[in-house]
């Protein structure tokens, strides 16, 4: 073994001589991820919150459609573990419904961002030359537009619903994965297995999908988790600024912004639950992202 090979052994990923006998196949990273306690904790938190939001209402029935005057801002107590909000909705139930919207938009927007961004970046990086330059200049130009202002504008023009939010947030977020994957593509296109595929006459779209994208999966997954975290914060910010989804739908950001009106009244159950939920989710996704990054051995990537 040369020095290089020795140092790769010493860092734990030997190219072929010393097999890590336990993990086989392409799932070595899963094993590494599972060893990372913080990352697993993050995953658990996400799973718990998702179950809470989507399955919770099956067990805990509350009316989230009709407001009930006379039941507003009740303190947490019998019948309402987290009290009620300013129009009489049960807060715990609201948290669940809000969670559904928040997570739907977050996952959806992340999915849109990743799919569009990865395709754009992989094609640009692989083809190189003039096309790459053109495509990346478009990305640069779009990056110059502050996303939040754009979203604010769109939100004032259209009444936002879940699907629209997903599309709009996703379409402002795809630029970062595009850049990242383009970087990967530039490196990967000179790899010998890519050349081999060319020699075999594999068609370009197949080649990009099978060889470039699959070998960037580490970067993509890591970025995807951060996309989710970012989307939650963006939606929260939008709602905070009063431009969220129309009631009776709600999301954690809207709940938070709503609750802040009552800070001085001391109705803590209006602000802390959604706030904590947001923070927990964002931190959890960040931990997952960090864990994935370590598991794939991507030390020096930007988000």
């Amino acid at each position: 073994m040369s020095l290089e090979n020795v140092t790769t052994v010493l860092s734990g990923d030997e190219p072929g001589g010393v097999p890590e006998a336990e993990a086989s196949g392409g799932w070595l990273w899963l094993r590494a991820f599972a060893d990372n306690k913080l990352a697993v904790a993050g995953l658990v938190v996400v799973v718990v919150l998702t179950l809470f939001s989507f399955l919770g209402p099956l067990f805990y029935h509350t009316d989230q459609i009709h407001t009930r005057i006379g039941m507003e801002t009740l303190k947490p107590g019998a019948g309402h573990p987290l009290g009620t909000d300013d129009v009489g909705y049960d807060q715990l139930g609201r948290l669940m419904v809000g969670g559904q919207t928040t997570l739907e938009v977050a996952f959806g927007a992340a999915a849109v961002a990743v799919i569009v961004g990865v395709t754009w970046g992989a094609v640009a990086g692989y083809l190189g030359g003039f096309i790459d330059a053109l495509m990346m200049r478009i990305v640069d130009a779009l990056l110059a537009i502050p996303a939040l202002l754009l979203l604010l504008y769109l939100a004032t023009v259209f009444q936002p619903n879940v699907v629209m939010l997903i599309v709009v947030v996703g379409l402002t977020a795809w630029l970062v994965p595009a850049r990242l994957v383009r970087g990967e593509a530039l490196t990967l296109r000179t790899r010998e297995y890519v050349l081999a595929a060319k020699t075999m006459g594999v068609r370009t779209p197949t080649l990009i999908g099978r060889h470039i994208v699959t070998n960037s999966i580490g970067t993509i997954l890591v970025n995807a988790t951060f996309q989710v975290a970012d989307a939650i914060l963006v939606v929260a910010a939008l709602s905070f600024l009063g431009l969220g989804i129309a009631p009776p739908a709600t999301n954690w950001g809207a709940m938070l912004s709503n609750g802040l009106n009552y800070t001085y009244s001391g109705y803590w159950w209006l602000t802390y639950p959604p706030g904590i939920a947001i923070v927990l989710t964002v931190v959890a996704f960040n931990l997952i992202g960090d864990g994935l990054r370590d598991a794939f051995g991507l030390d020096t990537r930007r988000r």
């Binding site: 073994m1 040369s2 020095l3 052994v9 734990g12 890590e20 006998a21």
Partner: protein
């Protein structure tokens, strides 16, 4: 024994990975005398590079070292990093395989070659510069004074390797450890660099540990050869003894499988079946058993003891017998 620059006794190096431990080096003992060149040969995964790193004191944190490494009269194993650093550069010089990454691309040649002198021996800038120039001339760089102010990327691979060698030898160390110093170079450059090693040995008198997988390089430039397999010693002896009379089954098989200019074209080549063993497993007997044509039950049960006489010894239960051997020693030229 006086006169030995390096004496390694019963060296073990374990590398702790996430879920397993790699026994990279096991029970290695070897000696290098003053001015002697010892070639450490073996294939991938035999532990020779780890051995080199251990002797240079460059193993990372996730390793455990047991045994003794004596440089002159000083014990190196277990030394603190600060003391090791002093030893490196002044008493031990190290040359690695890849001249591209061995040099800092942002520093000038002169500064890098003279660095050891300034840091370790407290030389002034001027003294270090003069020593660097002298060293660059010694390693055969044309116009050495000019080269001092150039950057590594301005030089070719062969010249860069010469600079690395100069940097390793500027403090006139007693021992030079060269890990695959010519593997990344073209064959004509390789020849030039090996010639350089020979010349430097005559001029500076340092002992050299030449770690390589290339039997040809070892044959032409080493006084003694240490053959490694699976982290352990397989056979040791003077170069002529090893090549003409290999006794360990692995050594014999390895020499048989080396391709030479004289090998009959398109003939069936000798190979060693199977692949090198997994160093995470601890095996009671001889690690070569799965691939050895002469393996017996004894070989699996017990690790072979040292046999042999004088400078030539081997660790094999069923060594190649002397009359079996009909090795070609004349190169057909």
């Amino acid at each position: 024994m006086s006169g030995s620059v390096l004496r390694v006794s019963d060296l073990d190096v374990d590398i702790r990975l996430r879920r397993s431990v790699v026994h990279a080096v096991r029970g290695v003992s070897l000696e290098v005398a003053e001015g002697e060149t010892v070639g450490i040969v073996g294939e991938s995964g035999c532990g020779k590079s780890t051995l080199g790193l251990a002797l240079a004191g460059l193993l990372p944190g996730n390793t455990t070292v047991r045994g003794s490494i004596r440089l002159g009269d000083r014990e190196l194993a277990g030394l603190a990093e600060r003391d090791l650093r002093r030893v490196r550069g002044t008493e031990v010089g190290i040359v690695f395989q890849d001249p591209m990454t061995s040099l800092n691309p942002t520093l000038r040649i002169g500064a890098q070659v003279g660095e050891a002198m300034r840091v370790q021996m407290g030389a002034t800038k001027a003294e270090a510069r003069a020593a660097a120039a002298e060293m660059l001339e010694l390693v055969g760089l044309p116009r050495p004074a000019e080269q001092l102010d150039r950057f590594p990327h301005e030089l070719s691979g062969g010249m860069r390797q010469r600079v690395v060698i100069a940097a390793a030898l500027v403090c006139r160390p007693k021992l030079l450890i060269a890990d695959e110093p010519t593997t990344a170079l073209d064959v004509t450059t390789q020849a030039q660099i090996m010639d350089l090693f020979d010349r430097l040995r005559q001029t500076l008198g340092m002992a050299t540990l030449l770690i390589t997988h290339d039997m040809g390089v070892v044959a032409g430039h080493a006084d003694r050869v240490f053959v490694m397999y699976a982290g352990r010693e397989a056979e040791t002896g003077r170069t002529a003894e090893i090549f003409d009379q290999p006794r360990h089954q692995y050594t014999a098989a390895l020499l048989d499988s080396v391709l030479r200019l004289g090998t009959p074209r398109k003939s069936e080549l000798a190979t060693i079946p199977g692949r090198p063993p997994d160093l995470t497993a601890t095996v009671a007997g001889c690690p070569f058993v799965p691939r050895c044509p002469a393996a017996s039950a004894e070989c699996s049960a017990q690790f072979p003891p040292v046999s042999g006489a004088g400078s030539h010894h081997w660790l094999c239960h069923h060594p190649v017998s002397q009359d079996e051997d009909s090795r070609v020693t004349e190169a057909p030229r």
